[in-house]
């Protein structure tokens, strides 16, 4: 019976067990769950162990958006259960596939239901109309579920309206493997009571009773006490009976193995410029002058986990592909929010998003990629945003705000009406520092002040139009910020790409040597030979196509690498950069 029980729905908690920011330790058929409600109302039911070292997540911290493991502070996102941050490696974005095992959750009859491998729906109980119900206290019993069900068939109780009486007649209306529906009548008073039995383990159960009528105040207390006393008595009887029989062996839960890829030290996943996800435009609105906000919801299933700083490729109806940063705060995983600025000289990207795409349209997007990861081991983080450059930094600032880490978001814009995502900005409180209507010179002066006192352990993140970004990087360098503390993301690469050189590329791991002629990129040549190369912007701005250089001198033409990285010559963006030497050896 218990084997079959795996495919059924069972109650694992009462709705009132999932208190604000609490993590509830649930159990079903020998398996433990960490059950928690996020601030957006979503109920998460996860395997009760962190994928890293097996520590119970039910002792973790529910911050309303994410669940943080006690042991090493790994953070897992609401809804997706994907890992968003690993504190031991603050500079890395965790492999997106580090995702905890989740189980379905449905709230019904004042109870939270789940199942290991659900077939069908949560039982529809005719006696219990949704609405005015009273869920009784769960009564744990040290006995197998079938024994508890047998006893419940003989359970007698008073109807709510005659709770103080004695003479009620209780009849069994229906009985199944894990539930008994009873009806109690005393004169004119009657109450339906359905008693679900949660099979916790082979020898442990919880009785979860639900009555079809609500009650308030003293009457409610009297009803709860009535059932508490009678069910406790029933428990004692079942436990006595169960104790006389040999206890069945406890059920050993089977923990799924992690993927082979995760068993090794994680590396960057390789995939091409693919758009695996289909989303619909749930909302489109003007979030600032010239900036449209888009809320993208999955057509089916749930969206993958993202980290602050991540972007998606949006494949547009006109065939163009553009990158947009996800502006969501942590744990907001039901949709992606992006902001699109209408570019005056748009080649069809932003113009299409503004003029053609409407609410209800379906778009293809890539999985989120994070080449602009946020460290959270900084003693103070400064964000400098220019115009639409706010988008990745907004996601980052919300993440730090949620963790109460010190930060300031300096937002440069032409005027008040140009500040996008006002609701999200408001959430940041005093950390938001708008700088409005400044000339380039005044912007420079302001930046000099903002970046004046660098201390070891501080980090700076910049995103904005090219000239402003250049200015901010230069000012930071002049005022003592080391390259390693300055992180930036360009919208696009405005360098004029010189693709006149021709050279040889050897791919060390693939054991292939390729000729790159003038007019073609390393990436194009690799793809023509059937080598899968991940990419996104394909103009040297986003960092997705980075490769490690083992030998040879790169001719950097991207805007992703910082000066120190350029000088080191150990990394190359294969979409635009080339070789100064006759031969390059790459770790591909």
């Amino acid at each position: 019976m218990l084997e079959e029980a795996r495919s059924r729905w069972h109650p694992i908690a009462a709705t009132h067990d999932l208190q604000f920011r609490h993590v509830f330790h649930g159990q079903l058929l020998g398996r433990e769950f960490a059950v928690w409600r996020a601030d957006d109302g979503y109920v998460n039911i996860w395997e009760n162990r962190c994928l890293h070292r097996g520590v119970r997540l039910s002792i973790g911290i529910n911050d309303g958006r994410e669940l943080k493991c006690q042991y090493h502070g790994w953070r897992y996102s609401n809804r997706t259960a994907g890992c968003t941050y690993i504190p031991a490696h603050p500079a890395d974005a965790p492999a997106r596939t580090i995702t905890n095992r989740t189980f379905p959750a449905i709230e019904r009859y004042g109870l939270v239901w789940s199942s290991e491998e659900p077939r069908g729906e949560v039982p529809d109980v005719a006696a219990l109309a949704e609405g005015k119900l009273l869920a009784l206290r769960g009564i744990p019993v040290n006995a197998p579920a079938d024994k508890v069900v047998e006893r419940l068939k003989a359970y007698r109780f008073q109807p709510n309206a005659a709770i103080g009486g004695e003479g009620a007649e209780t009849i069994v209306e229906a009985a199944q493997d894990f539930a008994v529906a009873l009806h109690s009548r005393d004169g004119g008073a009657e109450t339906h009571g359905v008693f679900f039995v949660q099979p916790v383990d082979s020898n442990r159960s919880v009785i979860r009773g639900v009555l079809d009528q609500e009650a308030e105040g003293a009457a409610r207390l009297a009803i709860l006490r009535h059932h508490n006393e009678r069910l406790s008595k029933l428990r004692d009887e079942v436990e006595r009976e169960a104790a006389s029989a040999p206890a069945p062996t406890p059920i050993e839960p089977v923990y799924e193995r992690v993927s082979a890829e995760l068993a090794e030290m994680p590396e960057v996943t390789t995939h091409g410029r693919k758009a695996a996800l289909r989303v619909s435009v749930a909302r489109k609105w003007q979030t600032a002058d010239g900036i449209a906000g888009f809320e993208l919801r999955p057509i089916k299933g749930i969206l993958p986990t993202f980290q602050p700083g991540a972007h998606i490729d949006v494949h547009m109806p006109n065939g163009e592909i553009r990158q947009y940063s996800i502006t969501n705060g942590p744990g907001e995983t039901d949709s992606f929010i992006i902001g699109v600025k209408l570019e005056r000289d748009s080649k069809g990207g932003s113009k299409c998003m503004h003029e053609t795409v409407r609410e209800g349209d379906v778009l293809a997007i890539s999985e989120p990629r994070n080449n602009f990861p946020l460290r959270r081991d900084s003693i103070k983080t400064l964000f400098v945003a220019g115009g639409i450059g706010i988008t990745p930094l907004l996601a980052m600032a919300q993440a730090l705000k949620n963790q109460e880490l010190t930060h300031e978001l300096h937002y440069f814009a032409q005027g008040e009406e140009h500040l996008a995502f006002a609701d999200r900005l408001k959430y940041l409180g005093d950390a938001l520092k708008p700088h409005l209507g400044l000339s380039p010179d005044a912007t420079g002066a302001e930046l000099r002040q903002i970046l004046a006192d660098y201390r070891n352990g501080m980090h700076l993140y910049i995103c904005g139009p090219g000239p402003m970004l250049e200015a901010a990087r230069k000012i930071a360098a002049d005022q003592g910020w080391p390259d390693t503390a300055v992180h930036f993301e360009y919208f696009k690469n405005t360098n004029k790409i010189d693709d006149s050189s021709s050279f040889e590329v050897a791919l060390a791991r693939s054991c292939v040597t390729l000729q790159v002629p003038a007019g073609k990129t390393i990436m194009q040549v690799m793809r023509e030979s059937g080598i899968d190369v991940p990419s996104s912007c394909e103009q040297g701005a986003c960092g997705t196509c980075v490769a490690t250089v083992i030998e040879g001198e790169p001719d950097h033409q991207d805007v992703y690498l910082n000066d120190a990285e350029r000088k080191a010559g150990t990394k190359i963006m294969t979409c635009v950069s080339r070789a100064k030497s006759a031969r390059l050896v790459l770790d591909i």
Partner: protein, 285 residues
């Protein structure tokens, strides 16, 4: 869970079963080793360790203030700790602490720096200083797992530390259930304080940790050393007891390692290579 041990590596080795100070003249001290119930008798200061199942007297020894036992014929001697012979050190038993988890999990936790800011907050680590810098791991010619160049920012790294600094560590797994930590002394910077953690495998899912500390005496009281160790271990205990499953999985795909876990990855592989199964969940074929 009193499964019998079949690992020769463990049956033919010495294990601590009691701290000498915990023995009384009046009553035998009851304990368990590798699933075998034992009674430690202290008759007029002569120690005798008897198996409860067969009544046989086992080969026992006294060293470093502990009672040692081997269930079979010992293949090798009790671990030699050179620092225990240096006169200017406190030689302190940190207090034997029972933990409801496999001793192998306790050893792995001892090798782990990543948890310092979260479990030993304000002492061995502190947010936001959470980064675990790359370090080196190798297997020595003596077949020990050694991690060197380990560095971590610690607010109060030792009982006498007054301010935070980056501490250098060396870790060494000496035997499956024995691990040592070498830490730069804050006063005599060229010398190392040593903590050796002897873990008694009570059974597959229970252990008793016996920390043995060799700390330089300069500027330090023995009682302070002991209470610091107890503070730190008390912080680890509730986490260890919430690890699921309780035994250490040796399958590379059972849990998710990161670069910071390089030493634990090597430790698990080293256990697999030596066919240690007691307290472990063997790798799937």
């Amino acid at each position: 869970m009193a499964t019998r041990c079949v690992d020769r590596e463990l049956l033919n080795d010495w294990h601590i079963v009691a701290d000498q100070e915990s023995l009384s003249q009046d009553a035998p001290f009851a304990t368990r080793l590798l699933g075998v119930d034992l009674a430690v008798h202290n008759r007029s200061n002569k120690i005798e360790v008897v198996r409860s199942d067969t009544g046989a007297t086992l080969k026992s020894a006294e060293r470093y203030g502990f009672i040692w036992v081997c269930l079979d014929k010992p293949w090798r001697d009790i671990i030699y700790i050179p620092e225990a012979n240096e006169a200017d050190r406190h030689l302190v038993n940190g207090g034997s602490i029972a933990v409801k988890v496999s001793g192998l999990r306790a050893v792995e936790n001892f090798l782990d720096m990543g948890h310092f800011p979260f479990i030993h907050t304000g002492w061995l680590g502190e947010e936001p200083h959470t980064e675990v810098a790359p370090y080196k791991v190798e297997i020595t010619p003596q077949d020990e797992v050694v991690a060197t160049e380990c560095k971590f920012y610690q607010p109060i790294a030792s009982p006498t530390a007054k301010e935070g600094f980056i501490v250098d560590y060396i870790y060494k797994v000496i035997r499956p259930y024995t691990v040592a930590l070498y830490k730069s002394n804050p006063i005599q910077k060229h010398r190392l304080d040593v903590i050796t953690l002897f873990v008694q495998p009570v059974d597959e899912e229970n252990c008793v940790a016996h920390p043995y500390l060799c700390y330089l005496k300069e500027g330090m009281e023995a009682a302070t050393v002991r209470s610091f160790m107890q503070l730190i271990f008390a912080q680890d205990k509730p986490i260890l007891e919430n690890q699921v499953p309780k035994r250490l999985p040796l399958d590379p795909r059972a849990e998710t390692p990161i670069r910071a876990d390089a030493v634990s990855v090597s430790y698990r592989r080293w256990l697999r290579d030596r066919a240690v199964t007691y307290g472990a969940i063997p790798a799937q074929a």
